[in-house]
Subunit: 241 residues, 2 copies
Amino acid sequence: MLYVIGIGPGGLDMMTYQAREAIEQADVIVGYKTYTHLIKALVGDKPVIKTGMCKELERCQAALELAQNGKTVALVSSGDAGIYGMAGLILELVSKQDWYVDVKVIPGMTASIAAGAVLGAPLMHDFCHISLSDLLTPWPVIEKRIQAAADADFVICFYNPRSRGREGHLRRAFELMAPYKAPTTPVGIVKEAGRRKQQHWLTTLEAMDFELVDMRTLVVVGNQSTYVDNGLMVTPRGYQV
Amino acid sequence: MLYVIGIGPGGLDMMTYQAREAIEQADVIVGYKTYTHLIKALVGDKPVIKTGMCKELERCQAALELAQNGKTVALVSSGDAGIYGMAGLILELVSKQDWYVDVKVIPGMTASIAAGAVLGAPLMHDFCHISLSDLLTPWPVIEKRIQAAADADFVICFYNPRSRGREGHLRRAFELMAPYKAPTTPVGIVKEAGRRKQQHWLTTLEAMDFELVDMRTLVVVGNQSTYVDNGLMVTPRGYQV
């Protein structure tokens, strides 16, 4: 049995009961080392197979092999395993490589939701997730999505906004939104949402400081109704208040 | 103190520890009756103020008044309180009506994530949330978002897809997507995700049965890479498998 588990942002308090139970039931834990560290209180003395970043395929195959050999395996992702996590790759491998493994995906709190609660209530109206990583997606596809989402006045959550090798992507995304969103559109920046080192900032499209952003940061750009009051970012749903 | 709490889809197993703790600490619980019923095991003999559907403003004001009078109040929403829930309205009321209340938003698992795990891994690539309720949003705004999202090849999650008074909205949404998404695009339908009566179906854009859908249903429409295999809906992220 292979549980593909979203552990949420990192703190045990934002994990679901179902995720916790699955980790406790597992014989062995597999995951990127930052994530296995976050849940070490639950893992106890179970064997942990850690792999580094960008070793997704290796990590998934290790988990499938253990499960096929009869182990109950917990493959952990931060956030939700089904959102830029490991669930898709596991299910692709199962269907294309003839593994005989039962897989159960256990959902978790994705970064946008955790970040939204920190900022106030910026996601109250239609919103989208866009990853700025072009490791697996052609950049023109990403550009088209940014423009379409800005033109249709979605709130936009940027995942993987910045890292070594693509410092300029977020700046380019802001240039692409500029024709559609006002310069004063509120922008929320949350680093390490839901973890002990959590930090957040409120700014605007025109005053954005890209240096605040790294790979562990989520950036939320408001729609045309979003406002900031008393340090909180709110997107009204349309109630007459 | 007012906790605005997302309880997740409904089952206690998909609630976070933080949400559970806040409910346990509260003096009084406020919420739409379906949601207060879902958490009755946690509520014990605390007073519960239930209100009916479409009484959002009344419910929020009741919660604020209790909190201003010194009670610790848990205002519960299903899913995440910050996604089409009560967090935005509470924060709007606090800033516009001069309530003196400390508010803490406690995030929860929204329906798309719970539904995604049931269907497989349909949300592995960029996706958006669109509510088809035009009670608070002009219908032309919704139409523009549907077209933009379909044109830019987002996976699309439809919230509030159908109810009495707007039976035709989902059918219209499918007509609007037709120029951009292939007729064979996979569609996942999840009713009562994460609850005991959960049901789900897989179909396609052209074979969609709108009669399966009600207000407690989430509809997920794939992107051009989404496929169904072995009863699971998967949107590949782009790994070479």
